[in-house]
């Protein structure tokens, strides 16, 4: 697994370059539009991946993911309306700077920081995924079971205001994941005689219903006639070297925070950008400028939200466990092409794995160029009324679901899931917890059952193996820290 043992010429094939450029442009425009984030950008592009090569498909989705994270800052800065949840922190200083007639400069800080964050995340992916995969090759079923459980605990404790509702979301996701043919015994579980459920609930249908349809329903219930902007003045996004040097420290801080946060399932770019913003303010020489258009206040969260992309790709590629809804869809693209991400990816499909690493860095550079050249154009997407935007996104999402399996059953499923998700969102249930549990369900159940077969039904297998015991202790430490934090907060609340 030599990092340089890769045919770089294959990365620059026309199809791969076109896929990166197209993915970036779609990500930018979708990220720009308030309410539509990286997940929807990736969902909308998924149907195109069926007729593409595996590398081009994955790079297109990664480019869209990256582009959407930067695109989210465009509406945050120009209008004060965050395009994605991750861009909420950017509003704090981006919009005040724009109101000082410096919108182009604010976008320049955002673009530069997003690019540095993206590259940093890409390097974390490059240098962390391979060692993690090397370690994971030594893992067996008990370790994978415990890693799955750790992912569920992380997502349940971190992703919703109510821990119980997060836990309910996790259990529901695990339950839906059990539908279909039991690979151990051939028993049919919860299929109710439907052939469409033999292979389980369609992941694309579930993801699209949960994230795209429910978002559309939210848009429909809000002010549909809102036109976010009437026109956008010409914006120059260039920065001088001195200006760039001025944001280097918060950018690096945001990059480190974003990469680390991205590694944890369920946390995502939103919390990362806030952590980065708060810490950048604490460490700044001019904290009083924060909230009034500080370049540091733009750079830190923007670097963080792009750095999470690389971080979230690490567990996906090295362990086969997605760290966010967007990476869950990218996992779907791997599966569409008959490739299972995980430790064996680096031996079975090494060219693809390294192509993804280096393509990720290339996609970040393309995002920078696209941001410099077409930010003006994409800012104009804000002039489209939701009256037209909702039908466009809805029909594209429908195409995405249908193309995944060619089943009308999946369309009905996505619609039902979309309606249910709309209400669950309103009631503060955690959709990321649900979806990650759904994906982890077969991994957890199968590893548990195989572990019990290996140990003749003895649970001691989870404490007698050194790797398993280490993971178990890490889980215990994480749970202990979470409980301690909760107990410490309680007296303050009362």
């Amino acid at each position: 697994m030599d990092l340089l043992a890769f045919d770089f010429g294959s990365l620059f094939a026309v199809q791969n370059l076109l896929a990166i450029v197209f993915g970036t442009l779609v990500g930018l425009v979708v990220g720009t539009l308030p309410g539509l984030g990286a997940t929807i950008a990736v969902v909308l592009l998924l149907p195109l991946t069926y007729s593409m090569s595996p590398l081009a498909s994955i790079l297109m989705l990664i480019a869209a993911y990256q582009g959407a994270e930067y695109g989210g800052s465009i509406s945050s800065i120009i209008l004060g309306i965050p395009g994605t949840p991750a861009a909420v922190a950017t509003v704090m200083d981006g919009n005040p700077m724009a109101r000082k007639n410096m919108a182009g400069k604010a976008l320049g800080y955002s673009l530069a920081a997003s690019t540095v964050g993206g590259i940093f995340g890409g390097l974390v992916l490059l240098f962390l995924a391979v060692p993690l995969a090397r370690l994971a090759v030594r893992f067996s079923d008990p370790e994978f079971f415990l890693i799955g459980v750790a992912g569920l605990i992380a997502v349940a404790t971190l992703s919703s205001r109510s821990a119980t509702k997060s836990a309910i979301s996790v259990v529901l996701g695990l339950m839906i994941g059990t539908i279909g043919l039991d690979t151990f015994t051939g028993a049919l579980r919860f299929t109710f005689g439907r052939m469409e459920l033999l292979e389980g609930v369609g992941m694309i249908a579930l993801l699209t219903g949960m994230f795209a349809f429910s978002e559309i329903f939210v848009m429909v219930t809000n002010d549909l006639h809102k036109r976010y902007a009437r026109g956008t003045a010409s914006l120059r996004t260039g920065l001088s070297w001195a200006e760039f040097r001025g944001i280097l420290r918060p950018t690096m801080l945001g990059s480190v925070i974003g990469s680390i946060v991205g590694l944890f399932p369920g946390m995502g770019a939103g919390p990362a950008s806030w952590f980065a913003y708060i810490n950048a303010k604490k460490l700044s020489r001019r904290p009083q400028d924060f909230g009034h258009g500080s370049p540091e206040g733009i750079a830190a969260p923007e670097a963080a939200n792009n750095a999470t992309v690389g971080g979230a790709m690490v567990p996906l590629l090295a362990l086969g466990i997605p760290g966010s809804p967007s990476t869950a869809i990218i996992l779907g693209a791997f599966i569409i092409h008959g490739i299972q991400p995980g430790p064996n990816l680096f031996t079975n499909s090494a060219d693809l794995a390294f192509g993804v690493f280096y393509g990720f860095l290339l996609a970040t550079l393309v995002m920078y160029l696209a941001g410099r050249l077409v930010t003006n154009l994409f800012a104009r997407a804000l002039t489209i009324s939701n009256v037209y935007l909702v039908p466009i996104v809805l029909i594209l999402s429908i195409v995405g679901v249908y193309v995944s399996k060619g089943l009308f059953f999946d369309l009905w499923l996505a619609l039902g899931v979309g309606v249910l998700s709309y209400f669950l969102r309103r009631l503060d249930y955690s959709l990321p917890s649900f979806i990650l549990a759904f994906i982890l369900s077969p991994i957890i159940e199968e590893s548990l059952r195989r572990s019990m077969l290996l140990s003749d039904g003895s649970w001691s297998i989870f404490v007698t193996r050194p790797y398993a015991l280490t993971i178990l202790l890490l889980i215990a430490g994480f749970v202990g820290a979470a409980l301690f934090g909760r107990l410490r907060r309680r007296p303050n609340l009362e």
């Binding site: 149907p47 028993a187 049919l188 579980r189 909702v390 466009i392 009631l427």
Partner: protein
Amino acid sequence: MSARLANVLVLAIFIAAGLVYLWVSRQIMAGNPAAGIGPVQFPGALAALLVVLCAVEMVRTLRAAPEAERIEIPPRLVATVVLTGAFFALWSVVGRFYPLAAGFFAVLVLVYQPGRPTPRGLALAAGLAVAFAAGLWLVFGLAFGVRLD
């Protein structure tokens, strides 16, 4: 409907779903129950966990002070869901995705427009719908060879 009532209703539905799931899981024919954990135990444990968690949350919700927030079902949401369902039903019977998608697009735009549609509004909706469907065909049908009919 108040948010509290909606919460209680959803939790009651989840408890019922957990019990049905548990009951159905008991009907699964386990191939070799002696060999470790079979196909029944994992779902059974999940169902039990769901019921317990929902019961805990329900007690907490009922004991909490009533929230001012209300959960409404706006008519536009109902219209969107019904029209989407009608589009699926028609598409599955008739085929011909692109003309139907154009029609669906136009109807949605008209439903979302305030007041009665004007001739100009109708023409604009129709023109955009045709252009959008043509764009879909160019990308999916022609460039990527995706079959949608």
